[in-house]
Symmetry: C2
Subunit: 473 residues, 2 copies
């Protein structure tokens, strides 16, 4: 195992390399032989299952139902909404043959499913009684990327896409913001990631949307990771697809639409927010195994204590992993650290002479020696403490990397540092383009609870909003 | 709603039409606009979620871990195992373009993933310590079908595929049979479907497998539905992919492989086994909602009783649906029947004068008038009774449609009737081909617990096994 830990490049030496090392050494992913393809291994998939099970329950609580749409979109269907097709056509995979037969019309593998949902909605929406329609789909999508970074960029992405239709604009707008809040709460409370939520600029919004809202997290290296989006479509798609409903007042109306999605990128965010040079550090609320039990030696007392602890954990429904093969204790400690189990319990003969076991927190590596009969009782509180400590640590680090300025020269200087820059902004694409050219930074999202005041530092026009700029993954 | 029920063709008039009517009217599926494509609607998907959640737990209990492999297989990779590519190449979808660029090598969308798993196994299997490798994947696969029948035949299929590697032949053979048993128990205990399990003939086995075992159910019309398969591969794929492990005795060995899968076909089997001219009939153990509550009229006492019953159901974790909109009682009863909720509870003013509510079993349509305070208490027993009654009814019907003969002339006569024919068989493909030509019947599966005795009625050679013949979906 020492060999394995050696394989992790230091985070402060080469962050990109450190990230891919952690993904590989913690057995989260493997690369397929084809460029751009990725295999999610059991431990990586278990983290995704933790995420999907929490989110799926939240979605259902709010009345959403899961469906499964086809994965292929005929070219003519993709073409129906103009902005949408322009945004996606350059990056889709095209199926042209079925067996030996050339298809009359080629089809792409869905890069997203607005068009498929709209085609279905047209058939099933007749009356106001059919609204709101609150659908969600768990599936994979394909975007023909040329580079691969585990969980961040690959040809095939596991995700969830919500698609909803509403009788009124107000209701659709509320849905857009409600689902943004679901993502925000999930990331804060489960992933222990402090996030900004706000509106994307005109330039950065989703192809075909009226408004896009996003979740923006700042990674350890100060770079932004967009981590969930929620779109308000207005009636554009509905009009393009001729979707109408008979309202209570007996007139035909066009419904209002939203969509929202999040992906395995959240696993990337999790890693790049919390993990360190020893490997993964997982927040207890999302860790597939909360505890790792490590018996040291073959002593009978050790085995008995191990068995008692396992029973107690089972009875308290606390998930755990046991490392009880014939490897050395040092190897096992390193293994537990690489995998990021929030707490490891070392069960050793010497400790047991005093009726003790040793608990080690993965986030701080602090050791706590406790009576073996009390070890399991203190776990719930300790796990909660780790969860909130991890959030606070990430929040403190992030806040140190947020700068504010009303001067463009200073802006350009700040742009050389890692982090986000907060400015008043005019909202015009020209200024975004200029910043991109001068510094490489892009807009992240507007600051929803702060009003604009003063001038845009880039062009001097009146500001219309406050916004974050930052580099992005 | 009466209108909706009218839409269901009678099962005894046109079984095929009845089936698709039930799928549509119960809101299980919709057709996509593209030939061969299918949309699984919320109620259909909820049934699939019931199935996947039970099976996923069973798989994990037995040590299997979920992974996610890429969906694209490069042509050269598909070509590695000869029999396999011959079986699948004619029915795959080929991706030839990524965005505007023609691919150097075309890729198919996975029709099954043996080749992808083997490529990954080659990388991660080094030593006996890495075995057994017990993997499973939930995903969709594509086979370029020209016809669509909901859940039975469509271009894209939701399924689960297990892929395992073992150090010894015995262990791999045990795994093949163990997973067959998991499917069998699931279908008996949850879907209330009596099934035969046995080995497929040489002709009917999976492309590339040494042995294929299958689950064979007989539908209401006497036609067979293959409903889950488990394959033993021996070392053929492992050799083709050059997968080796260092065994305890320090020599390099080739591992033994299995795969096993089941699909949304099980929803088709569920419908064609139990449902009737009024719509779905779902066994309680798999129904997304066990109970349907129907308040009749706007009376305060009715509303209070409804609320009390809801609370009691919640506290007992019994899932339910409430039909409390402004439609007529007759409409709601028909709606509850179409959807196949195992029990509906009618809450009416007149019944309540005697403190009663009316329970109606979906499977028998029997009415049971009970004191409202006892209604929920009797549900668990009533649901169990419905579950076993449904199984027994299906079993009785199936057993009536099984014939046995040792005379080929009689065989050909029996072949005109719905059902299966049980015979001693020589095991030779020539005889299968002859039966297919003479009668349209194919072999289903061998009878594992009965030994062959006597001659094959088709050719007169010595029999090597007993087997079922039948028509198939």
């Amino acid at each position: 195992m020492e060999k394995q830990v050696e394989k992790i490049t230091s985070r402060d030496v080469d962050f990109a390399k450190w990230y891919t090392d952690v993904c590989k050494v913690a057995d989260l992913v493997d690369y397929g032989n084809v460029k751009g393809s990725m295999i999610i291994r059991p431990y990586g998939y278990a983290i995704w299952e933790q995420m999907t099970s929490v989110l799926d329950k939240e979605f259902k609580k709010l009345g959403h139902e899961n469906v499964q749409m086809p994965m292929f979109i005929p070219e003519s269907l993709l073409n129906i909404e103009k902005e949408h097709v322009e945004g996606f056509a350059p990056e889709v995979a095209w199926v042209t043959y079925g067996g030996k037969e050339k298809l009359e019309e080629r089809m792409c593998v869905r890069p997203t499913s607005e068009t498929l949902f709209c085609e279905h909605f047209k058939k099933i929406i007749k009356s106001y009684r059919d609204l709101p329609l609150l659908y969600n789909q768990w599936c994979t999508i394909v975007r023909w990327e040329k580079t691969t970074r585990p969980f961040l960029r690959s040809r095939e992405i596991l995700w969830q896409e919500g698609h909803t239709m509403h009788a009124t604009e107000e209701e659709a707008r509320n849905e857009t913001l409600q689902m943004l809040k679901v993502y925000e709460d999930f990331q804060r409370n489960y992933l222990a990631i402090p996030v900004f939520v706000g509106r994307k600029s005109e330039k950065e919004k989703f192809a075909g949307a009226k408004e896009t809202y996003s979740i923006e997290a700042m990674m350890y290296d100060g770079v932004a990771l967009q981590n969930g989006t929620s779109h308000y479509f207005g009636q554009d798609f509905a009009k393009a697809f001729d979707i109408k409903f008979l309202d209570k007042d007996n007139t035909l109306k066009t419904p209002y639409q939203t969509s929202w999605g999040c992906t395995t990128r959240m696993i990337g965010a999790l890693i790049m927010t919390h993990s360190d040079d020893r490997g993964l550090v997982l927040p207890p609320n999302i860790a597939p195994y909360k505890v790792c039990l490590i018996p040291i030696g073959n002593d009978e007392k050790v085995t008995n204590t191990l068995n008692t602890l396992k029973e107690e954990l089972d009875s308290k429904n606390i998930t755990y992993k046991v490392l009880d093969d014939d490897k050395t204790p040092g190897f096992k400690f390193a293994e537990a650290e690489v995998k990021g189990y929030p707490i490891r319990i070392e069960i050793g003969k010497r400790d047991l002479e005093n009726n003790n076991v040793t608990l080690v927190r993965r986030d701080t590596l602090d050791k706590i020696i406790v009576n073996k009969d009390e070890a399991i009782d203190i776990l719930p509180i300790l796990l909660d403490t780790i969860q909130s400590d991890m959030y606070n640590k990430a929040l403190k680090r992030r806040n140190k990397m947020i700068y504010e300025t009303d001067n463009y020269e200073e802006f350009k200087e700040l742009a050389t540092k890692p982090g986000f820059i907060k400015v008043n902004w005019c909202g015009r694409t020209e200024c975004e383009d200029k910043v991109k050219e001068d510094t490489g930074l892009k807009t992240r999202c507007t600051i929803m609870d702060e009003k604009a005041s003063g001038k845009c530092p880039i062009c001097g026009h009146d500001a219309t909003c406050k916004i974050y700029f930052g580099k992005q993954y």
